[in-house]
Amino acid sequence: MIWLAVLLPFLGFLVNGWLSFFRPDAKRAVSVIGVGVLVASFISALAGVVGLAGAVHDAPYIVHMWSWMPVGELQVDLAFQVDELSAVMLMVVTGVGALIHVFSVGYMREDRSYPRYFAYLNLFVFFMLVLILGANFPVLFIGWEGVGLCSYLLIGFWFDDEAKATAGKKAFIMNRIGDFGLLLAMFMIFRAVGSLDFLEVFDAAPAAFVTNGPEITLITLLLFLGCIGKSAQIPLYTWLPDAMAGPTPVSALIHAATMVTAGVYLIARTNILFAMAPVSGAVVALVGAVTALFAATIALKQWDIKKVLAYSTVSQLGFMFVAVGVGAYAAGIFHLVTHAFFKALLFLGAGSVIHVMHHAYHHTHSGEDAQDMRNMGGLRKFMPWTAAVMWVATLAIAGVPGLSGFFSKDQILAEAFARGQGAFLFYVIWALGAVAALLTAFYMTRLMLYTFHGPNRTGEAEAKQLHEAPWVMTGPLVVLAAGSALGGFLNLPHVLPGAGWLEHWLKPVTEGSVPYLSEAHLSAGLEWRLMGLATLIAAAGMIAAWYFLKPDRLGAAKAAPAEAGVQRVLLNNYYVDELYNTLIVRPTDWVSRKVLWRIIDMGAIDGAVVHGAAKVSRLLGWIGTRFQTGNLGTYVVLFVIGVLFVLSAVAG
């Protein structure tokens, strides 16, 4: 059944791709196929997962398709691995993916490239499934690169706008930096173990590597470099905010719920390698914690509703890396799942808002920015459903007790705190995460206040056009809201009854790393106190936002004064983009233009090699023409010399 789940989105891609060329107006057919394959894929994945849960097995199911690269020692099969971890990812990708496909039917209805959009989206799901189901590193890598390609195609979906096409290129190029690390890690693993199959590598790892040795540390750091690129962590995070140039459902699916979490998945998958390299684990956790805080501060001051969510995603991904860095793999995957629910919901809700705002501005031919929160305000009167479900997601991400985000985030912080007894660094990481959680509550409340509360700032004529989004868009939101609210019950804290279901479910995947991880145990009292603190943090963030922010006094975007001081620094992402441009992009550009192009390409390659070859053959030709005197005597002399030469050769 599992191969069907993978194949269906690919068929959808082929059919929709065909339609985009030959029947670009067949929107009804595209909707049915594009959404249908995802729903069918979800059902067959569900059947597979139910089968997995019901079966007694002591090893993951491997579905062999065919032998792909049999080269000497290197035996790579195209094979899928179905185990507890890929089952969780499978549910998230096909489930959330199907909801977002449904939403897209409404969101993209009036786009002229409608079939192309669904073709790309189907292709993305196909590659994402290859990524999470691959039974060895090369198959994972196909998916890894494939989702990068689809991300590029969908960020630059409206490629006639140059800024959007550039954002796509930026995402693609920054991901290449990470992929280079992943490739090197694969090479090193093959050199050490002689295999690239997950099962063989993880079985052989305890014997092949020295715990905390330089080799395993380097391998895991290189793997983490891949994760940094794909999951937008410091220092390669700047592509994700720019990726908001793509259609909003794309941001929800690729840049919040699935693709960007691939890095977390990779670390959870290779958990035994990371457990054997505690230094790398600490680096992962530290980078995650710093990113979580850093991105949260930037999100405080963004006006573009999608940019807030983008930085929020970077920040939440940081939390996940804290979890997998400290060795709490189940907690990381738990947050991945809950985040997929509430962040997809937030993005789709923002998509509804943008959709409606865009319509209103389009109606009055106003050139105002439909994504700027300063132009919104009071939208809850026009869009009650969207406002309600987005509040659910906001409360979840802020960490209000009972909702999914509270449990997952609290678990990550508790796991980090528990390891603080072993090394002080983990207390620092915990503190960074706690402050980031406070800021999360603040900036999400800010987003909600400015968007849905206070007076409406859209404009008199435009306000008449505001209305709730169609049901095809709000329907998926309601389903996701249920997930955001109840997702926490997947993995309740230890002190509650029915605790740790997901942790128990993932045990077969993570148990190999247990002997290498330091024992981390919190007393029940401490756990309750940490939960209380988390509640306090969430409440403090939200109340502070409510108290300090005055949506009543906010003016529309065109009348807004320019920010100054710290606010301006935050609005401009700490000028990191400018820093990268000055330090890396422009020098690279200069070297490419002046040295590589002018000197190496035009001088050495064109001048010496290409033109040189032409000159040599012309010279040889010129020498040849000197023999052609047109004078019979010359020919005869040469002829006789030749004959004498042959004769002497024969005689000699």
Binding site: T629, G630, N631, V636
Partner: protein, 98 residues
């Protein structure tokens, strides 16, 4: 028999022919020198045929036939060149210079 002297005469005739082609400029003289070389070869064929069977003599007939055909075509060309250029000096016939 007379094999040695016959081959010697053949060699001398052939060398004269080669030298003539090399040295002379007049097209007709060069042509005659080519004929001389052909007949030098004929002579050696005949001489050797005395000892090795009649194959060589058959070849002589081939050579004479080719030489006759060559003479017919060659003189026709020479006449055409002369009508066109009013000279047979090969120094002046170098249209094919590269």
């Amino acid at each position: 028999m007379l094999l040695g002297p016959a081959l010697g005469v053949s060699a001398i005739l052939f060398s004269i022919g080669v030298l003539g082609v090399l040295i002379r400029r007049n097209a007709i003289i060069i042509f005659m020198c080519v004929e001389l070389m052909l007949n030098a070869v004929n002579l050696s064929f005949v001489a050797l045929a005395q000892q090795l069977g009649t194959d060589g003599q058959v070849f002589v007939f081939f050579v004479m036939t080719v030489a006759a055909a060559e003479a017919a075509v060659g003189f026709a060309i020479i006449i055409a060149i002369y009508r066109h250029k009013e000279t047979l000096d090969l120094q002046n016939l170098n249209l094919l210079r590269g």
